[in-house]
Amino acid sequence: MAFIHGKKTFVSLAAKNLSAYTTTSQMEKNSDSHDVTTYGKDAHVFSGGLLGGTGTMSGIYDSTAVTGPRAVIEPLVGTVVEWIRQPEGAGSGLPQDKVQALVLKYTETNPVADMVTWSCDLQLSDVINSTAQAA
């Protein structure tokens, strides 16, 4: 077991590497819950349902054409594309989550006394492939 620093994290959207522009990312995996409580029970009983999830990324805006966050993400809003997140960075055998995701929102924020930042909200679509990275 080892603690892992977040700086190694890799993220890409639609096969475009966004890591160099990203400061925070999050993938939430969740499930529907169905209340299957029947008469005679003293507490609720639940059953799991369909899986789902959401994701977010945010970071520092970069004007780089083609590969910068604005160039990559803004045209993808409303479309479903592949999102890859490697929480321990790139490397053989290291974990990876690969999933189709609907790009819900792209936001740019311009504080007067700091760098321009961006953020992106994702809705996961279909199951997550969590197979470790290949050699």
Partner: protein, 138 residues
């Protein structure tokens, strides 16, 4: 980000401002009017994933222009720390597209008195923040 290259590029750019002797690092001796590019307070690595961005925080450029009690010195220093005019250090640096940085902001200026060869000079310390490309991890 190479700090020496960055300090040198700032000094080279400052060389376009009229009337200043430029030092790209703290010198042994200063002959006013002079601008000295000094070290930053800190370098912040890993500002994005994969060493994508490095920040250079509070790099100082010191201006030593005139004697404290000299009105002409005050007027001259005022031109260099102004946010307008051909001698404005802020405009000189912020209106220039650097090769060793992506973004440069002259954030503030503080004032102090320095004594050189027994004479009190008015000094202005400009605080500069820079955002630079990191060196992406292999």
């Amino acid at each position: 980000m190479n700090l020496a290259s960055l300090m040198q590029e700032i000094a080279t750019r400052l060389g376009t401002v009229p009337g200043l002797r430029i030092h790209a690092q703290p010198p042994k001796t200063i002959t006013p009017p002079a601008a000295i590019v000094s070290y930053p307070e800190s370098v912040q690595y890993d500002q994005t994933y994969g060493r994508g961005m490095t920040r250079v925080e509070a790099l100082k450029v010191w201006l030593v222009v005139g004697i404290v009690t000299d009105r002409a010195g005050r007027d001259s220093l005022s031109e260099y720390v102004s946010d307008e005019g051909e001698k404005s250090i802020k405009l000189c640096l912020e209106d220039y597209e650097g090769e060793t940085w992506d973004d440069l902001t002259v954030a503030s200026v503080e004032f102090d008195v320095v004594t050189i060869a027994g004479v009190d000079y008015m000094a202005a310390g400009l605080t500069i923040n820079l955002a630079c490309q990191g060196t992406p991890a292999a």
